[in-house]
């Protein structure tokens, strides 16, 4: 079918839903999602959303901005960090007004707790800035925004998979989606398209992401010729459940949890004397891996212990109930008496589709692509720089999701349809036919598994050129294997065998952008740590990496960082 909408939003997490609420009811909006909206991965966010409300202790948005910039190892665009921190209070009050059930202080205000890298008075010590609803903050905000979408009767197309984005002559034309229930291809012509498809942790073997997070919107933008920004900056969250990668919130350490090695030693005291266990994620993940590599993993294995035994059962029930249930179910561990085995897990992509402060997607000349917008983890504003602070992601989604929605509503007055091509789905039809053509061969799973293992081994927490070059050549053989991929399921109804193969193309393409961007950056900054270039090098590398898919191959170029209030200085915690 061909659908014609004024606005198509792809992705029903917090960014997509928040943007949708800004579009006037006079416009015809479609919200596309691979899943039912309440299944979106924003719902897996646990610990909190930051805002300098000062409900528990004095705080200020300037401190929040500073922490965001320093947390991002000065790669953060400071105009974006200022926008985020200044708008945080309004954004959190707004969520409260529309019903988000935050925990409360004894005087009835929104309760707040400490989180990694968030400090008082420009780094003096931890500050309680994270507003939370137990350890299911993302989930309840998702439910709250979904409820508003229901109230507003926004038209939702659930289980529609984005498979092509069409941009012609610098202007969006629309997109092609595959309907899981029927196997039909649909084109959506639109005056405005917002890409809010989230991250792609599935590039890595150990990750905290849902299976649906395969970066479809980011990859398809790249395939359509849009450059991607800062793809080498991949966040490994320090505390994933050992062997599973399931997230154990940083809120555990915000509430007093302590990381311990095989000797029971609180090793973070050595790596971050001031903030200790509440140092930013890149610092803690490197510390954990250093402990493991130097033989201090628990029982000689590749994990350390997260100790919550001193926090107390009542406080855990009140503030950390979901993670205590995960530990119980998956490890058989009672967190009030025994530690949780944890290891770093791929969690968040700082890089993505470059946008301005209003969600407009930018081309290589930093000019907006007409009618194309992006927000959330799919986008790179860049508000997280080289390393995102915990709780800044949920804030990013509602602040920049709203701004993108407002910009769409504004620009919609002038935007018209791009009718350059009459047939938008020709490439997609051909692609699916050719995917279904082989009658035998290798299926998705072993290829995906090898890709994830390769990225884990060659380009994760610790990196060096030799390993990454091996990774790049290994990727070539993975691409070759993909060319003759075999889809066993030939039936149209809920053919996830086919969609997993489509998703795998996205994962492979994004892995390549990560590897190439990481090989090019010959310094260490934030989450990008090079053993062969262990220091930050502001003279040569205080700049954003841009990678673009061009007819003659991939091209890497750079763009400057916006620096307004805070000059780069040494980053210690």
């Amino acid at each position: 079918m061909e659908f014609i909408h004024d606005v198509v939003i792809v992705g029903s997490g917090l960014a997509g839903l928040r943007a949708a609420l800004e579009i006037p009811v006079t416009a015809k909006v479609a919200l596309l999602s691979k899943v039912f909206p309440t299944r979106s991965h924003s719902g897996a966010a646990q610990g909190g959303i930051s805002a300098a409300l000062g409900n528990e202790e004095p705080d200020s948005w300037e401190w929040h901005m500073y922490d965001t910039v320093k947390g991002g190892d000065y790669l953060t665009d400071q105009d974006a960090a200022e926008t985020l921190a200044r708008d945080a209070e309004r954004a959190v009050y707004e969520l409260e007004h529309i019903g988000a059930p935050f925990n409360r202080t004894s005087d009835g205000k929104i309760a707040q707790r400490a989180f990694g890298g968030h400090t008082r008075n420009f780094g003096e010590g931890p500050v309680k800035r994270a507003c939370y609803a137990s350890d299911r903050t993302g989930r309840v905000i998702l439910d709250t925004l979904y409820g508003k979408a229901v109230e507003k009767s926004i038209q939702i197309f659930s289980e529609f998979v984005l498979i092509d984005l069409i941009v012609e002559r610098g202007k969006v034309s629309g997109l092609v989606a595959y309907e899981l229930a029927t196997g039909e291809l649909h084109t959506f012509r639109a005056r405005a398209v917002l890409i809010a498809t989230g991250g792609f942790g599935g590039v890595y073997k150990t990750n905290s992401n849902c299976f649906s997070n395969t970066g479809d919107g980011v990859y398809l933008s790249y395939r359509a010729g849009i450059p991607l920004e800062d793809m080498e900056f991949v966040q490994f969250h320090p505390t994933g459940i050992h062997g599973l990668g399931v997230l154990i919130s940083e809120a555990t350490r915000g509430e007093g949890g302590i990381l311990r090695n095989n000797a029971g030693q609180r090793f973070m005291e050595l790596y971050a004397p001031s903030l200790k266990d509440l140092a930013p994620r890149d610092v803690v993940s490197r510390a954990i891996w250093t402990e493991i590599r130097e033989g201090r993993g628990v029982n000689g294995e590749d994990y350390v212990n997260l100790d919550l035994t001193h926090i107390g059962a009542e406080r855990i029930e009140d503030k950390l109930s979901d993670i205590s249930s995960f530990a119980k179910i998956y490890l058989g561990v009672d967190v009030t008496t025994d530690p949780i085995a944890v290891t770093p897990t791929c969690h968040y992509m700082m890089g993505g589709i470059p946008t301005d402060l209003n969600g407009r997607v930018l081309n290589r000349f930093n000019e907006p692509i007409v009618g194309l917008y992006s927000a959330g983890e799919a986008a790179c504003v860049s508000v997280h720089g080289a390393n995102r602070l915990g709780t800044n992601s949920l804030l990013d989604l509602v602040v920049f999701g709203r701004r993108a929605g407002k910009m769409i509503a504004e620009e919609l007055k002038q935007l018209d349809f791009n009718n350059h091509s009459s047939n938008l789905d020709e490439v997609s039809r051909h692609r699916i036919e050719s995917l279904l053509a082989p009658s035998h061969g290798e299926r998705s799973f072993p290829i995906r598994n090898d890709l994830q293992t390769l990225m884990m081994d060659r380009c994760s927490v610790f990196r060096n050129e030799a390993d990454m070059l091996k990774g790049l050549s290994g990727l070539e053989s993975i691409k070759d294997r993909y060319k003759s991929i075999f889809i066993q399921n030939r039936n149209p109804r809920y053919n996830t065998d086919l969609t997993e193969a489509l998703e795998l193309e996205c994962l492979i393409g994004l892995a390549e952008t990560i590897l190439k961007s990481a090989i090019a950056r010959q310094e260490s900054r934030g989450a990008h740590y090079r053993e062969d270039f262990p220091n930050r090098d502001d003279k040569n590398w205080l700049k954003h990496t841009m990678i673009q898919n061009r007819s003659d191959g991939t091209e890497i170029f750079y763009k400057p960082v916006n620096i307004s209030r805070f000059e780069p200085k040494a980053r210690t915690y």
Binding site: V35, G99, D143, D497
Partner: protein, 231 residues
């Protein structure tokens, strides 16, 4: 160890009737039933259909009936089933669309009917104040992930399609007992009938099924008590 799975299969485009198919999977005791389904789909039979996403009990996608009990495939471990054989079926009373995938649209429509959003006219400059005690009244209900295990387990809902079922009632509970909501009476009124709370006769199957340990039956009974109190 080797585990035998018997899985409900049905593709209305291909099959005249549903049938059960057997698979044998190598699995460790601490692996999830979902891991086994993935292994079957990825290495044995790509035609198997089921929903899943987060794989750790937060998104609510992979609700199904496992050895007769509704639950999330990502929360049930192989060692939970000592018989060595695991029977996997779609949620009962939901229309099967393909294999373990059921039609969720009527369920979400029922959730929408209870107006799953805060109704409040005031917009103070900062947050509305709410005491920790008032906030605590919703604490268990906000765990709901809309997986539908409770509704599928409810003997009344299975028999009587007019009954809204437990999950929409939990959603209603969350708003009725939110001190900030201004339409509590209207919400109670909407549920003061057989389609609402009065068909519930305390089988407790919903409570037993809930993967998030919400005391679902208790929530429904608290709504009933509130109706009596205000009526």
């Amino acid at each position: 160890m080797e585990i035998k799975f018997r899985i409900f299969r049905f593709d209305p485009d291909v099959d005249a009737q549903p049938y059960y198919k057997e698979y044998f999977v190598q699995a460790q005791g601490n692996e999830r039933v979902l891991d086994c389904l993935n292994r079957i789909k990825w290495t044995q039979d790509g035609t198997l259909g089921y929903r899943m996403s987060c794989a750790h009990g937060v998104c609510g996608s992979d609700a199904m009936r496992i050895n007769g009990k509704c639950g999330l495939a990502c929360q049930k471990l192989v060692k939970d089933f000592d018989s060595g054989e695991i029977l996997v079926e779609p949620l009962p009373s939901f229309r099967p669309l393909k294999d373990l995938i059921v039609d969720m649209n009527p369920f979400f429509e029922r959730v929408a009917q209870i107006r799953p959003y805060l109704i409040a006219s005031d917009t103070p400059e900062k947050e509305r104040l709410q005491s920790p005690e008032d906030r605590k009244k919703m604490d268990l209900a906000i765990r709901c992930i809309l997986c539908a295990c409770c509704s599928a387990s409810c003997p009344v809902a299975n028999r009587d399609d007019a009954f809204r079922g437990p999950a929409p009632l939990v959603q209603a509970f969350r708003r009725i007992f939110d001190s900030r909501d201004e339409e509590k009476l209207q919400r109670l009124d909407q549920l003061n009938n057989k389609e609402g709370v009065w068909s519930c006769v305390n089988h407790f199957e919903c409570t037993r099924a809930c993967p998030k340990e919400i005391p679902v039956t208790k929530c429904i009974n608290l709504i009933k008590a509130e109706i009596k109190k205000t009526g």
